[in-house]
């Protein structure tokens, strides 16, 4: 009984470990001291192919969300956006963003499909036989497990459009060139503008955690 519980605990631990490894958490240089950062300079963001203005929209979204998160944002150096963190800090970081996706007319098919994921049914039958003397009663337990693999039924298909925005962000120390934080993220939605904003919000939220703002 205890061995079974131990086995279950090990499976649970392995699943947890696997799911953590598969999550889309950012990569961080653990040795870097983020409390010594003076400013973050947001590099010009290149437009996504055939999407003029997409880079500027994402840059504006990032500035907006940084401000919403309580950071001081300025745009004095040749139109570049600068996030001011700590006046006593010695290091400056540059934030670069590459748009990996910026589409609002991606066509997704909705098949009219019925998915039966199947089921596992376990029946436990218990019976006891007694010859009248309670001390000599015989108990029998039998277990039957039925597995149904499920099925998919599909009919005609319909089309609709969906927005999808993806990006890769990198924070680099300007003096040493050391990459201190990087993250890739994508999000989908019905409207392109709100999807881009959610992408920016998520990324800035993660950057904010580095500076405990």
């Amino acid at each position: 009984m205890e061995f079974r519980l131990f086995k279950k605990a090990i499976y649970f631990f392995l699943i947890l470990l696997y799911s953590n490894n598969c999550s889309h958490a950012p990569a961080i240089n653990e040795t870097y001291d983020f409390s010594l950062v003076n400013t973050i300079n947001i590099d010009k963001i290149a437009d996504y192919p055939k999407r003029p203005g997409s880079g500027q929209i994402m840059e504006d979204n990032l500035s907006f969300i940084f401000m919403k998160n309580g950071f001081n944002v300025s745009q004095i150096m040749s139109n570049n956006t600068v996030i001011n963190l700590n006046d006593e800090g010695e290091n400056n970081l540059s934030l670069s963003c590459t748009l990996t996706e910026y589409t609002d007319r991606e066509t997704i098919l909705i098949p009219y499909r019925v998915e039966d994921r199947g089921s596992i049914e376990t029946t436990i039958t218990q019976s006891s036989e007694s010859n009248g003397d309670d001390q000599n009663a015989i108990a029998t337990t039998s277990t039957t497990t039925t597995t149904d693999g499920g099925s998919i039924q599909e009919s005609r298909k319909l089309e609709y459009t969906q927005a999808r925005v993806g990006m890769i962000l990198k924070l680099k120390d300007e003096k040493t060139g050391l990459l201190v934080w990087t993250h890739s993220y994508w999000y989908s939605g019905i409207e392109l503008s709100s999807t881009a904003q959610i992408c920016a919000r998520n990324s800035v939220g993660l950057i904010s955690k580095l500076f405990n703002n």
Binding site: Y112, V114, Y187, S188, I190
Partner: protein, 112 residues
């Protein structure tokens, strides 16, 4: 002999009726989905949700419809309803890309 013919005739009537009814039911759902997509693309999200819920009543296990409902609730900023729809989408979907997308949305909506 007459009895056999009667039996065959009544069986055929039952089969034809059931096929017609199932085609009608699918047609109804497809109409709701078409109306939902048209409404969504013109920005009428509430109407789209109404049509999608009607389509779901015929086929509650359609993961793609649950996904569309979740996206619409997100657009309408109805977080709790969006979370429920994404969870339903995961429950009924076998498509790994949809499950992955649902998990990304759930992480965002749950603030992870």
């Amino acid at each position: 002999m007459k009895n056999i013919i009667k039996l065959i005739r009544s069986s055929l009537i039952i089969i034809i009726t059931s096929i017609s009814l199932s085609i009608f039911a699918y047609g109804q759902s497809e109409d709701h989905l078409k109306r939902a997509i048209s409404a969504m693309e013109t920005g009428l999200f509430d109407e789209s949700l109404k049509q999608l819920n009607l389509a779901l009543s015929d086929n509650p296990k359609n993961a793609q419809v649950h996904k569309l409902i979740a996206l619409l609730y997100e657009a309408l900023e109805k977080k709790e309803k969006a979370i429920k729809a994404w969870n339903d989408c995961i429950r009924y979907s076998k498509d790994q890309s949809i499950i992955k997308e649902a998990k990304i949305h759930l992480n965002y909506l749950n603030g992870i």
